[in-house]
Amino acid sequence: MARIIVVTSGKGGVGKTTTSAAVAMGLAKKGHKTVVIDFDVGLRNLDLILGCERRVVYDFVNVIHNESTLNQALIRDKRCGELYILPASQTRDKDALTEEGVGRVLEELSKDFEYIICDSPAGIERGAHLAMYFADDAFIVTNPEVSSVRDSDRMLGILASKSRRAEKGEEPIKEFLLLSRYSPERVKLGEMLSVDDVQEILSLHLLGVVPESKSVLNASNSGIPVILDEQSDAGQAYSDIVARYLGEDKPHRFIDAEKKGLFGKLFRGK
C-alpha cells in the first residue's frame, strides 16, 4: 500500500507546488516509486515546475471520467525513472473532480507506487478538500507571516475533522510543518515571524525550514525541481526534509542568521 501525502496550506503562493515537485523528486531519487498528482484543475502548474508541460496528453480529469487509462495519463520523468506525474486538466474546473473518482484513481495508484503526493490547490473548497480527503500524511506549507499561519491553522482543523480518517474514526492524519520563504535576517530585524512564533500557534512536527532563495524562482522557470540544484540552500533544505520524513536524523539548518566572518565581510564588500 502506498502512503498518500497531501501538500496543502489554505493560502495561495506559499510554495505548495514547489514543495510537491521537490519532495516527489527527492523520494524518487532515493529509490521510492513516487507519483505526484496535480489537484489544481483549471490552474495547472505542476507540469511546468517539473518541466513536462509539452508531454501532457491525457490528464487526471480524463482518468476520473474514464476517458483514458491511468497509464495513458501518467508521465514518467526523464531525469528519474521512479517519478511519475499525473497532470491536472487546464480546460476544466474543480467540479470535474468527484470523491468516488479520486478514490478510485488513488486506489489504483496505491497498487504500484510507494508514495502518492497530492498537490493541493489553494483554498478550502472542493479541490483542496478532495486533495486532503484520502491522505495519510499532510505537509503543511506555511510562510512566516500571520495570514499564512492562520490559513494553515484553518486547514489543520479541516484535516482533523473532514478527512476520511476522521470520518471513519481511524488514526488521524500525521501532520508535518514546512516553513518556506524563511529569512533569518528579517526575523532578526523583527520583520518576519520566527519559527517559535509560528509554532506557538500551529505546534506541529517541524519537518524543515526552506530559506527564501533566488534558486527557487530560477528552478521553477526552467522546469527543474529545486531539489536537483544541490548547490542551492533551498535545494539542500528540501533534501533534508525528504531525509527527515524518511526517518533520518538531520539537524535543522537555515533557522538562524549565518554569522559573517572576516571572509564573508570581505567578499560581501565586493
Binding site: 484553518r154 482543523g157 482533523a160 506557538e200
Partner: protein, 252 residues
C-alpha cells in the same frame, strides 16, 4: 403583590406558573413522505449533530393540512425520536391528528383555524392546558441533562465547539476558533479565539482562562472585544463573569 401570594406568604412557595417564551425549532413539513423527511433531516442533522441532539421540536403541519394531505403522525413521531429529536407539540394539524398527538403525549397548538368544519363540541381548554404541562416534562428533562465536554486537542481556526454543559479545554484555542457553552468555559492554555458562555441565557455562567488573549468573550449575550480589555489582563489568569448586566474580567 397579588392576593394569592399574600395568602400563602407564610408557606414556602413550591410552584409558580409564569409565562415564558422558549426558542424552539419548528419543523415545517411540505411533504408527507416519511422516507423523504427522514433523509433530508438526517442531512441537516449531520451539519450540526450536537446542535440537534435531543433538541425539542414543534411540528408545523399547516401546509399539509391546507393541501388536505394527512401525514401518518405516529410514524413521523417515531422517526423524529429515532433521530434523537424530541417533538413536543404539533401545530396546524387536523382534528384526528390532534387526538393522536395527545395520545402520544405531544401537546397541540391550536392557534390557527383548521380547514375542517368548526366543531361545536370543543375540547375543554383546561384539558388542553394539562396536556401541555405534561408534555413539557421531557423538555425540562433534556435541559437538566447536563453534558460536559473535555477537549485535549488544539482548537484550530474555524473550528466551533458547542456543549450544553461546561466546556473544559486543555489545549490552545487559536484565533478564529469558537467555544460555545450553555454553562461555564474553562481554558487551561493560551486562549486566542472566542469564548461564549451561558449562551442560553444563564447569567451565572463564567469563563476561566489561564492565559487571556481572546478575540471576544461573552456571557449570556453580553460580550466584550479584545480591543476593550485592560492591558494588564493580557496573558493573565482571569475569571470573566456578569455583574448587573456588566461583563467583568477579574485577575485571579
Amino acid at each position: 403583590m397579588s392576593i394569592d401570594s399574600t395568602l400563602i406568604s407564610n408557606q414556602k412557595v413550591a410552584v409558580e406558573i409564569k409565562s415564558s417564551a422558549f426558542n424552539i425549532p419548528a419543523l415545517i413539513l411540505s411533504s408527507h413522505s416519511i422516507v423523504e423527511i427522514k433523509q433530508q433531516l438526517q442531512k441537516k442533522i449531520l451539519q450540526a449533530p450536537e446542535f440537534f441532539k435531543n433538541s425539542p421540536l414543534l411540528i408545523e403541519l399547516h401546509e399539509l393540512t391546507e393541501q388536505q394531505v394527512e401525514i401518518d403522525l405516529r410514524s413521523l413521531i417515531k422517526t423524529l425520536r429515532s433521530l434523537h429529536l424530541i417533538p413536543i407539540a404539533i401545530s396546524g394539524a387536523t382534528r384526528k391528528q390532534n387526538s393522536i398527538a395527545i395520545e402520544l403525549g405531544i401537546a397541540v397548538q391550536t392557534k390557527h383555524i383548521l380547514i375542517e368544519p368548526p366543531v361545536v363540541e370543543k375540547i375543554p381548554a383546561v384539558e388542553e392546558v394539562t396536556e401541555k404541562i405534561e408534555s413539557i416534562e421531557p423538555l425540562t428533562k433534556t435541559v437538566s441533562e447536563i453534558e460536559n465536554k473535555l477537549i485535549m486537542q488544539p482548537v484550530r481556526s474555524g473550528q466551533r465547539i458547542y456543549t450544553k454543559g461546561d466546556l473544559t479545554v486543555l489545549a490552545p484555542v487559536n484565533p478564529g476558533a469558537e467555544l460555545i457553552a450553555e454553562g461555564n468555559i474553562h481554558i487551561y492554555a493560551p486562549m486566542r479565539g472566542r469564548a461564549l458562555a451561558g449562551v442560553q441565557g444563564n447569567t451565572k455562567s463564567c469563563i476561566f482562562c489561564s492565559d487571556l488573549q481572546a478575540e471576544l468573550v461573552s456571557i449570556a449575550g453580553v460580550y466584550r472585544l479584545s480591543e476593550d480589555f485592560d492591558k494588564s489582563l493580557r496573558q493573565k489568569l482571569v475569571q470573566i463573569y456578569l455583574h448587573d448586566q456588566t461583563l467583568l474580567i477579574k485577575k485571579l
